[in-house]
Symmetry: C2
Subunit: 530 residues, 2 copies
């Protein structure tokens, strides 16, 4: 059936896709073999394989090209990022996330802003002294915005939700929330100079942030609730698991694309869509749909993550960018070191003060963020990855200015920051967590990347969530200390009223655990709601 005359461009894309898929397979197999290592993780393996392949390509093409696929923002933001963020929302421990909600918002909104100012002003002050060519104020502000955002994809690779749930939810949650900050920040930068900074501008900034935050989450929640309602109402499982899975996948993707279309924060949207889907929709579908969605979403996310790191590694060696730099290697190293230092300082400047502020509101010492945890939060959020690269390309190659030495140096410096932070900082995160938080090792010695998937399949499906729900019910209803805890911990009170509202109004309409007509999955499940 496919006796197509293959055009040269089509043949080239066949070749590059074939090679890329083969490399992805190699990354999975090698990543599996290296899993026992204390240092490595899948992303560093992929990055290393990407760099090696890039080197081989550079050698065989005699320095013409190192890339199999050209780095494209569209591929990255439209196809690779959505499954990763959606899956993170789908598998996140909701209770842990919402309990730390205020701290996460503090880090994501105020923290990113502090980091942005420090990196921008520092770059303005320090890089200006090195003569690297024409860069205007907008470029310095842009590099601050680009390097102040934590890369959620990298965070997923080094932090384990099962072992350090608090830190995971703080650092990853921050990475999701600061997407909204970045959108607002970028819009503000585009209008900079038109107005001088005063109270009104600052207030408008925060108003914009909250508007964007609320509309984005509302869109995500709406998409999730819509999927829950339609699957419950039409009872898709009656005929087909495939249709249920397809509908969940497509509606989640639709929420991301709609947010992108409406200029909202698409990352926030699809993250909340994942949370809502795992709370309602997932319980309305058949048993096989549950297993399939859980693992299919995780697999898509896993492949997209490896794809991104492979891509970044392969792209880093691209010769074109480095030709300018080779004339002045000292300057390039200087700029890269300054930026790395600013990233370290910018993050330190908000993690420690904001943790202190957050600790002031907590009464129980168990809930406070210890100093060791603060150091881990600071360190684990240092990595900058594909997002920073995509944004640097966007900022410094647009409108044909690639040829300017200043722009070339900014791009290669960003790549250096990405490579150094992902490899060096990434390699040291596991040992650091081992050193600072030895209690997190109680779950066993093997730091597996997909915590729950190695167990028998029914257990992880019911495990995480049931644990937390049983725990909450226990705290609020049966444990003797429940009333005192209710008064002393406001987040628990919010959670208690949310559960009452959920049980009374949301679950009867949108389904969820205990409101489904499918077979009970285990005796525990049935007992829990009888």
């Amino acid at each position: 059936m496919d006796f197509v005359v293959v055009s040269p461009s089509e043949h080239a894309s066949v070749v590059s896709i074939t090679l890329f898929v083969a490399l992805l397979c190699a990354c999975i197999v090698i990543g599996h073999l290296l899993e026992e290592s204390r240092w490595m993780n899948e992303s560093i393996t992929a990055l290393a394989i990407g760099l090696c392949t890039g080197g081989v390509f550079l050698f065989t093409t005699k320095g013409r090209s190192s890339r199999v696929l050209v780095f494209s923002e569209e591929l990255f933001f439209i196809y690779l990022l959505p499954p990763i963020i959606f899956n993170a929302g789908f598998q996140v421990k909701k209770k842990q996330f919402f309990r730390n909600f205020m701290t996460i918002m503090l880090f994501g909104a105020i923290g990113t802003l502090i980091s942005f100012f420090i990196i921008s002003l520092g770059a303005l002050g320090l890089i200006r002294r090195i003569d690297i060519g024409l860069l205007d104020i907008g470029d310095y502000l842009a590099i601050g915005a680009i390097l102040s955002a934590t890369d959620s994809v990298c965070t997923l690779q080094v932090l384990n939700q099962d072992e350090i749930p608090l830190l995971y939810s703080l650092v990853f949650g921050e990475g999701v929330v600061n997407d909204a900050t970045s959108v607002v920040l970028f819009n503000a930068i585009q209008n900079y100079g038109q107005e001088h900074i005063d109270v009104v501008v600052v207030l408008r900034f925060f108003a914009n942030f909250f508007y964007l935050f609320l509309t984005s989450t509302a869109l995500g929640a709406f998409a999730g609730l819509f999927s829950a309602y339609i699957i419950k109402k039409l009872y898709f499982g009656r005929h087909s698991t495939d249709r249920e899975v397809a509908l969940m996948m497509l509606l989640a993707y639709l929420s991301y694309m709609l947010a992108e279309f409406l200029n909202l924060s698409s990352i926030l949207t699809v993250f909340f869509c994942g949370i809502v889907m795992s709370h309602y929709t997932w319980h309305n579908v058949t048993e096989s749909s549950r297993v399939t969605t859980k693992h299919a979403f995780a697999t898509l996310s896993f492949v997209a993550e490896i794809f991104i790191f492979l891509y970044v590694g392969m792209d880093a060696l691209d010769i074109e960018k480095w030709t300018f730099v080779s004339n002045s290697p000292g300057k390039s190293i200087g700029v890269s070191s300054i930026l790395l230092g600013l990233v370290l300082a910018g993050r330190a400047a908000f993690v420690f003060p904001l943790s202190f502020l957050s600790n002031l509101t907590k009464k129980s010492p168990d809930e406070k963020i210890s100093f060791n945890q603060q150091v881990t939060i600071w360190w684990a959020g240092l990595m900058r990855g594909a997002v920073s690269m995509a944004l640097a390309y966007n900022q410094f190659t647009r409108s044909g200015h690639t040829q300017l030495p200043g722009n070339a140096i900014m791009i290669t410096s960003t790549i250096t920051v990405v490579l150094v932070s992902t490899t060096i900082f990434g390699l040291m995160t596991k040992p650091l967590i081992r050193l600072l938080l030895p209690s997190s090792q109680k779950h066993g010695d093997c730091l597996s990347l997909e915590p729950s998937s190695s167990k028998f399949f029914l257990q992880p499906l019911l495990g995480n969530e049931q644990d937390s729900e049983v725990e909450v019910r226990g705290q609020n209803i049966t444990r003797p200390t429940s009333l005192r805890m209710l008064l002393s911990k406001p987040s628990h009170t919010v959670h208690y009223y949310w559960r009452k509202f959920d049980d009374a109004f949301m679950r009867p309409v949108f389904g969820g655990r205990g409101f489904v007509s499918v077979l009970p999955t285990s005796p525990t499940d049935q007992h829990d709601h009888s």
Copy 2:
């Protein structure tokens, strides 16, 4: 994180993807609501929604464009077709398929050739009389090749493997095998005129076909065995379901792309890769990987099928192609009718004679293809779909010849054939099967498209295959008539020796049922191999 300056082209692709995903969701929901209907199927729903949306677009853009996405061969052959064909191989009833292997080869190789000659010569004789502009012999041969290939995607939509397994394996298998025929045929057409037809040319044609058939299946089998070996050897399930699923998915896709790269028949390759993976690899993975792969592959295939029909429907109304035709509507209707008639005649000319030949080799009347079944085989293979459209675009728009009226009429006629055959023939297939083969209705009144997915999830996983294997073991080993059957049915003998070879050499190396260290899935499973 995504404060990217969205370029106009990127914004346009965001808009079209958003709209397309929304339409896909609508197709799934409406398809679900219409499922009970005796006539409709998901593909016709998608085609109708595509046509309607195209109409609305045509109206709102005042006749400028009807398309959201431009029909691209790359999108079709590289992304949409592989999951559909792979899933068909993965879920096919292997015993039924291999029992009818000779008949399938006869239909796929000789049958397609007969159909090709009838359509080409008929078009040459009849369409030449209508003055539609310059077309050379190559164009007539190409239209024969384009319209002689059955569309496997359409076949999947109207035939149900559980209800009519014999017909399904014959018609679908033919569609897979004739991909190799098409590749060889097309290469032959490209060299036509350089040599006159004699015995050597005909022999070379068949030698090429068998070479292509063998190399393509060998590549697919190798990819499948490789995945089985590596997953068994490294025991991926120890740590992660996601890795197993990702590896299976990527290796299957790699086999398709490698075949494409090596100019083999990629459809044959990925189909056999699916068969081998379901026989070996699927039994080496964890329980949750089995559920996930079964449903995730089916879901991907399901979405790709709907995508294709939506796409074809939306593209059909594109105004540019129809402007030439509007000057001479009579000619266009004439050409379309001639082509439709030739498709009907070409298929009849091989289904009935070859069925007769096939029946001669069968001794038991149960194994013969009855006349009613022959009519169904003829009818169910009449549909031409997206593959024909993609090939017609390729043939009649290349090298800038779009503006020739002859080419424009050939394209619109192909679209007409596709629309008429998919809707009219497609709508009538279900009632026809009901009328001619009433016995197939024993499985219940509801003709669901995904036969096994509505049952509880463990049953379909073990059901199909186990049934057939138990049956075979019963026939060969315990039933009193086994020796007589062994002598009278050569295909059973082949199957018997294959099983001995499989048990002795293949399964110890590549795994498969009974050679895995995971938990037994059900008591039956354990009993079967104890």
